[in-house]
Symmetry: C2
C-alpha cells in the first residue's frame, strides 16, 4: 500500500516540515505586503508569486506519504493547517484523517462538507471507518451505512458496537482463510490467484465448514515445507486468539509477550470474525501511554497543540477545579491553626516542606503501584509484602530526611524543640504518604477505575492536608 | 519458536500465577508447621507433602512459556522468586532472563554461578546476549566472547558498541538475503532449503555483490507473483532503512507511521548489517513509556516491586533530595515575609492555594509541550504561536480561577482587599507558570536533555517560590 510513496526518516520528515513552513511563511509575507499596498488594486506580480508558492507547496505535498502529511498538519497552526489541508489530493483525505490525532482530526473535519467526508470515508476499510466514526457527523455515518454492501455494513456495525479499548474496536477484517484438507501446493496457488495480500499478514487462518478456526498456517511454514504436505499436517493448532470483548490492554501485553504480528479474533463459538494486527497494537500502546501521561498531568483529553485558547482551557478546567477544591480544604486545615502561627510564624515558613516532600514521596509509591497493577504483578497474595516494603521505605526516608529537615529548622530558628517537631512530623507524613500511595490506586483498581487517573490528585490532597495537620497539630501540642 | 508452549490469555496467566502462589503458600505453611513441631525430628509426612508440592510446582512451570514464567517471577517476593527460579528448566534460563525487567534480572543473576550464566547466555542469539550483557559479570562476558565463533563475536561486539536508545542496540542479525538476478522460483527453492525462517520476517533483503542492499522482496509479493519473474523485477526499491546510530525513538515513530514489521539496518556505505523488527520496537516503546512515567514521578530507574527497602529507598533519594532543596528555597521565601504573616495570619492559610494551582496549571502546559517535542511537532517556526496560546489560557484561567479564589478569601475573611490581592496573585502566578511550563522543557530539549525528566521538579520549584513571593509581596505592599 505504502510502496508508492517516498518513505522518510525523521530527519527528512523534519526537513519536509521546514520546507512547508518556509513556503507558508513566504506566502504570508507576500499577502502582508499586498495588504500594506492597499487591498483594492492588487499588484499582478504579487499574485504571480502567490500562485507559484501555492504550486510549489502542492507539488511538495504530492510527494509525501499520507502519514507524513498527517505529521505536518499536526505541527501547523490552525489557519495554515486549513490551507495545507485544502491543497492535499482528495484521494488521500481518508488515509490522512486516519493518521492524525483525534483533536487535529476534529479541526480538519470541520472544514469538510458532507460529500467530501463521504468520499474520504469510502476510500477506507470498514475497520478504519470505525476508527474515525466518533468524529464524523451522524448523517454522514447513516449515509455511509446505506452505500456499503451488506458484508461491509455488517463489519462496520460490529466494529462500531465494541467499546473503545476492546479488541473488537481494534480488529480488522482483512484475512485469508483456507481449508485443512488441501495441500500446501493448492494453498500457494490460491494465494497467487488472489493477486494481493493484506499488510501485516504472517499466517493464514485454517477454518472448517462452519467457519470455526482450527489452526493457523504461518507463511514461514508454508514457504519452507514440502508443497505436497497437507495444510492439516503443517498447521499450528496451539495459537493465541482473542475475543472481541477482550481488553485491548491485555491483548497488547500478549502481543508483547509472544512477539505476535497478527492473531485471529473469534466469537464464543470459536468462529473467525476478524484479526488483530501488530500495527493496531502499536498505535494502541502509544496512544494509551500518551493518554496516561496527559491524564496524570490533569488534562481531560489529548489536546491539539494549536487548539484555540477556549478549547485548551476547557480541556484543563476539570482537574484545576478539583485541585482547587483540595487546596481549599488544605487551606482550612491551616486556618484552624492561625492562632499557633500568630505565636510562632516560623511554622508558616516550614509547613510547606512537610506537605511537599510527603506529596513527592507518596507519588513515588503510587507510581510503582500503578505500574505493578498495569502489568498484573500485584495480587491479593503479595499485597501485604508491598505494604511492608513501602512502610519500610517510609520509615527509612522519614528518619533520614526527617533528621535533615529537623537540623535545618533547629539551626535556622535556633530552636531545638521546633527541629524535633519538624523531624517527627516529616516521619509521620511520609508514613501517611506511603499508605495513601498504596491504597488509593489499589482501591481505584478494585472499583474498576483507571488508577492512573486521579490517584495523584487524591494523594496530594491527603499529603497536603495531613502534612499541615500533623505539623501544626504537633507544634501546637508540644511547642506552645 | 514459541509454538511448542501453551500460549495464554491474560486470564489464564493470572490463573497460573494464582496456582503458583497457592502452591508456594502451602509449602510455606507446611514448613512453618514443621518448624513449630521442632526442627530436629522432622515429621516424615511433612517431608512427603513438601516433595509433592515441589513436584506439582515444577510440573506447572514446565507447561509455561518462558515469557509467562518471567511474568510470574516479577510478581513473586524475593525468596519465593528464588525458589521458583531454581525449579525452572535450565534450558529456558536464557529466554526468561531476556523477558524479565532489568531489576528482576539482577535479582535472578545474583543467584547464578558462572557456569549457569554462561550456559544461559549461550542459548541466546547474539543480539539477545547484548540485551542482558549490562547485567552480566565482566568475566562472563569475556569468556563468552572467547567461546563464540568469529561472526557471532563480531555481532556481539557491534551490538555492545551501540549506546542504549539507538537502532544498533535494538537490531538483530537474523535475516535472509538473496540476489536480484535470480527468479522467484529460485528464491522459493532457496527458502525451502533453509528449512526454517526467523520470526517476524516479512521480507527478504536483496543485496549486490558487496552486500549493499538494493531492494526488498516482501513475502506477500513473493507469494502472489508469477515464479518465473526475476527478483529484480518484483523487488521494492523504495523502502525504509535505518542506520545503527539512528535514535531508537525516531525509528519507533517510523515503524508506527509506516506500519512496518521489519526493516534493514545499513552502514554509511549502504551495506546490510542487521535488521530491526517490530517486536523489538514494541518492547522499546513500552519500556520508554514506562521509564518516562517513572522518572516523571521521581524514580531514578525501574524498581523491582519486591526490591529490598534499602534498594527502593536509594532509587528514590535523588529526586527527594532535589525536591527538598527546592522546598528549602520556597521556605526561605516565606521566611522573608514572617513579619507580614504575624500581622495577618490569613496569609499563611491562603498562600498554598496560589502556589499549588500555579504548579498544577504549569504542569498541564509542560506536559503538552513535552509531548509536542517528543512527536517532533514543535519547531522554531511555531514556537511563538504556542507561547501566545499558553499566555491566552493563563489569562483566561487567571481571571476565572482568580475570581473564584478572590471571592473565597473575601467571604472567608470578610476582607475585600485581601480577596483582590488573592485574585491578582493567582493571575500573575498562572502567567509565570505558563511561561515556565513552556521554556523549561524547550530549554532542556535544546541542551539535549530529556525534557520528561526534571521539567516537573523545576517547574514546581518556580511556581512555589514565585507563588509565595508574589502573594506575600503584594499583600505586604497593598494590605499592611
Amino acid at each position: 500500500m505504502t510502496d508508492a510513496f517516498e518513505n522518510q526518516s525523521q530527519d527528512n520528515l523534519e526537513t519536509s516540515l521546514a520546507q512547508v513552513q518556509n513556503l507558508l511563511a513566504r506566502m504570508r509575507l507576500a499577502e502582508e505586503n499586498a495588504y500594506k499596498q492597499g487591498g483594492a488594486q492588487q499588484d499582478p506580480t504579487e499574485d504571480l508569486v502567490r500562485t507559484r508558492n501555492l504550486t510549489d507547496l502542492q507539488r511538495k505535498l504530492e510527494d509525501l506519504h499520507p502519514a507524513d502529511i498527517a505529521y505536518i498538519l499536526e505541527a501547523l497552526p490552525l489557519d495554515e493547517r486549513r490551507l495545507v489541508w485544502s491543497l492535499v489530493h482528495a484521494e488521500n483525505d481518508g488515509e490522512i484523517l486516519l493518521e492524525v490525532s483525534d483533536s487535529v482530526r476534529e479541526s480538519l473535519i470541520q472544514t469538510m462538507d458532507k460529500a467530501e467526508l463521504l468520499a474520504a470515508a469510502e476510500s477506507l476499510d470498514t475497520d478504519e471507518i470505525a476508527d474515525i466514526a466518533p468524529d464524523l457527523p451522524r448523517d454522514v455515518i447513516e449515509e455511509l451505512l446505506t452505500t456499503l454492501d451488506a458484508q461491509k455494513r455488517a463489519h462496520l456495525q460490529s466494529a462500531l458496537a465494541y467499546p473503545e479499548d476492546t479488541v473488537g474496536a481494534l480488529m480488522d477484517f482483512e484475512m485469508v482463510t483456507i481449508r485443512a484438507d488441501v495441500t500446501l501446493e493448492v494453498a500457494l496457488r490460491y494465494l497467487r490467484r488472489l493477486g494481493e495480500l493484506p499488510d501485516q499478514l504472517d499466517k493464514l487462518f485454517v477454518v472448517d465448514r462452519v467457519d470455526e478456526i482450527i489452526g493457523v498456517l504461518p507463511l514461514k511454514r508454508l514457504l519452507t515445507t514440502d508443497p505436497e504436505a497437507s495444510v492439516a499436517a503443517v498447521m499450528v493448532e496451539d495459537f493465541v486468539k482473542f475475543h472481541p470483548e477482550d481488553e485491548a490492554h491485555e491483548a497488547s501485553q500478549a502481543f508483547e509477550r509472544y512477539d505476535l504480528v497478527m492473531a485471529p479474533v473469534v466469537d464464543v463459538q470459536g468462529r473467525l470474525i476478524g484479526r488483530l494486527t501488530v500495527d493496531a497494537v502499536v498505535d494502541y500502546i502509544r496512544e494509551s501511554a500518551d493518554a496516561d501521561m496527559l491524564s496524570m498531568a490533569g488534562l481531560k483529553e489529548e489536546e491539539d497543540l494549536f487548539s484555540s485558547v477556549w478549547h485548551a482551557a476547557k480541556n484543563r478546567w476539570m482537574w484545576l477545579a478539583i485541585n482547587l477544591g483540595t487546596a481549599f480544604i488544605a487551606s482550612r486545615v491551616i486556618g484552624g491553626f492561625e492562632g499557633s502561627i500568630a505565636k510562632l510564624t516560623a511554622l508558616a515558613a516550614l509547613m510547606p516542606i512537610i506537605a511537599g516532600i510527603g506529596g513527592n514521596s507518596g507519588n513515588q509509591t503510587t507510581t510503582v503501584i500503578i505500574r505493578g497493577l498495569a502489568l498484573g504483578h500485584i495480587t491479593q497474595a503479595n499485597a501485604r509484602q508491598l505494604v511492608k516494603k513501602e512502610i519500610g521505605v517510609a520509615l527509612l526516608n522519614g528518619l533520614m530526611w526527617g533528621s535533615v529537615v529537623g537540623v535545618f529548622a533547629w539551626l535556622l530558628y535556633d530552636n531545638l524543640a521546633l527541629g524535633g517537631v519538624m523531624a517527627l512530623a516529616m516521619l509521620l507524613n511520609l508514613l501517611v504518604a506511603a499508605l495513601a500511595g498504596i491504597f488509593i490506586p489499589m482501591t481505584l483498581e478494585r472499583v474498576k477505575r483507571d488508577p492512573a487517573i486521579g490517584s495523584s490528585v487524591l494523594l496530594t490532597a491527603i499529603t497536603d492536608s495531613m502534612g499541615f495537620f500533623i505539623f501544626l497539630g504537633l507544634a501546637t501540642l508540644l511547642l506552645l
